[in-house]
Symmetry: C2
Subunit: 111 residues, 2 copies
DNA sequence: GTTTTATTTGGTAAATTTGCCAAATAAGAA
DNA sequence: TTCTTATTTGGCAAATTTACCAAATAAAAC
């Protein structure tokens, strides 16, 4: 068996890879509330505009977002809202694990 | 803003990166049914044993799985079952998109 | 003890990703 | 038309990931 030959696995992995970068993950979360102009990302992120543009292209190619040009501006919006549940779920787990770890440390110090 | 400085975003991205490789994604799906011996992966995947072992280590470090040694064998099991819903959801979307694309082609040919 | 079996670790070359700069494009404003 | 603004593209070096081989470890079998 080679999972790389399985179309569905392959495509799913591609989508996951698209949101597996901190900046792109953050972008997707920002888009949860609705479409955003590229300029907003440029204002709020510290990276070079070209870097931001390329991140958005990665999301677009994975099918996670799409965009619409209006005048000089470009607006990106989320196409696969499904990912939001997941991100919330993962974040919840991460947060819980972090709290558990803290509690463990506290108990150790108490003993 | 730099999403790389945000702990939660960072950790979540790490988990996503862990399952963004076709082989590792497939492994996680196999583990949905319960624990599996490394030997099962070795039997069913075409990669080198060392490659498989390293993939499992990536999953372990992301907190997605854990393992237990029993005799000479090592058994891995899923810790973050939450990801299964998501994978199912993404796969569903990918499948639907694929079907839509097919339909579009059919309609074009008919016209 | 030695040998065999199961798995991991170290090392490394090839492939991919990332992020910056400079230049190109696109569209409205002057 | 020329100028300015918004965004993308091309090119490239640095960082990371991947996958193989060979060697190391761990535990049971002999």
């Amino acid at each position: 068996m080679n999972p790389k030959d399985d179309f569905l696995t392959q495509e799913t992995a591609k989508i996951l890879k698209a949101i597996s970068h901190p900046t792109r993950l953050w972008m997707v979360e920002q888009l949860a509330q609705g479409e955003l102009c590229v300029c907003v990302f440029n204002e709020n992120l510290e990276s070079d505009f070209s870097t931001i543009s390329k991140h958005l292209t990665v999301l677009k190619e994975a099918g996670l977002v799409d965009f619409e040009k209006r005048g000089k501006q470009v607006f990106y919006y989320l196409k696969m809202t499904c990912v939001l549940n997941f991100i919330a779920c993962i974040k919840g787990t991460v947060k819980q694990e972090y709290l558990d770890k803290l509690k463990k440390i506290e108990n150790h110090e108490a003993a």
